[in-house]
Assembly symmetry: C2
Homo-oligomer: 101 residues x 2
DNA sequence: AATATATATCGGTATTTCCCGATATACCAA
DNA sequence: TTGGTATATCGGGAAATACCGATATATATT
């Protein structure tokens, strides 16, 4: 777990926004299940992209950044990649900040 | 409290190192009290700079970055500026990561 | 095979960060 | 005042980041 990489991933307003949206996908992507079906809490790139209002390539890259930092996990199903939060990473980070930083 | 600014401040190995050193100044700057006297847990720029091995200007800027993010506080006494951790900021950040990020 | 859709990757420009040396400022001492 | 020490700020080159449009890849459909 590279601390600097984690903090860099968090050093961007859009990426923080995405993480926040993924806390409650049903709330922030109400039409996701309709168009994408049950996805176990993961949200596909396109929905995130449209909500963020940046280009597809940018959001795809941002999600890779978050994934490399361990903050989200990706699972490919068919042509979609569903991204979801890795809650354990946030717990660990919280503990790190509280006691070891 | 600007979250992005905080995470940017933490996105650098040297700055993380400094914060860690400031957790226990007596341990990491054993000769500080001898040369600088009792400083209420704060450490002057020069000692931090020598331990970090970067230039004076770089470390001075890094400390300003940490200060603007609220992670350290500065107090000037004579020609020295003593920097110390703002523990409350770390508590707040830990809670933020745990519940709101 | 051909086409369409979802995502990833590539190449590029503008901005930011990293870190430096030089200089400015503040304070202290003689 | 002169000089010395501690810190801050300025100007800059190299590297990283923020985005973009274009293209490549993977999968699904016909």
């Amino acid at each position: 777990m590279d601390q600097v990489e984690i903090f860099k991933a968090l050093s961007n307003k859009t990426r923080l926004q995405i993480l926040n949206w993924l806390k409650d996908p049903e709330l922030h992507f109400p039409d996701h299940k309709v168009s994408c079906g049950e996805t176990n809490g993961g949200v596909c790139v396109g929905h995130i992209q449209r909500k963020a209002g940046l280009t597809q390539s940018t959001i795809s890259e941002y999600l890779v950044v978050l994934q490399r930092a361990g903050l989200v996990t990706a699972s490919r199903v068919g042509q979609w990649t569903y991204y979801k939060r890795n809650e354990k990473a946030f717990e660990d980070l919280s503990n790190l900040v509280a006691s070891e930083l």
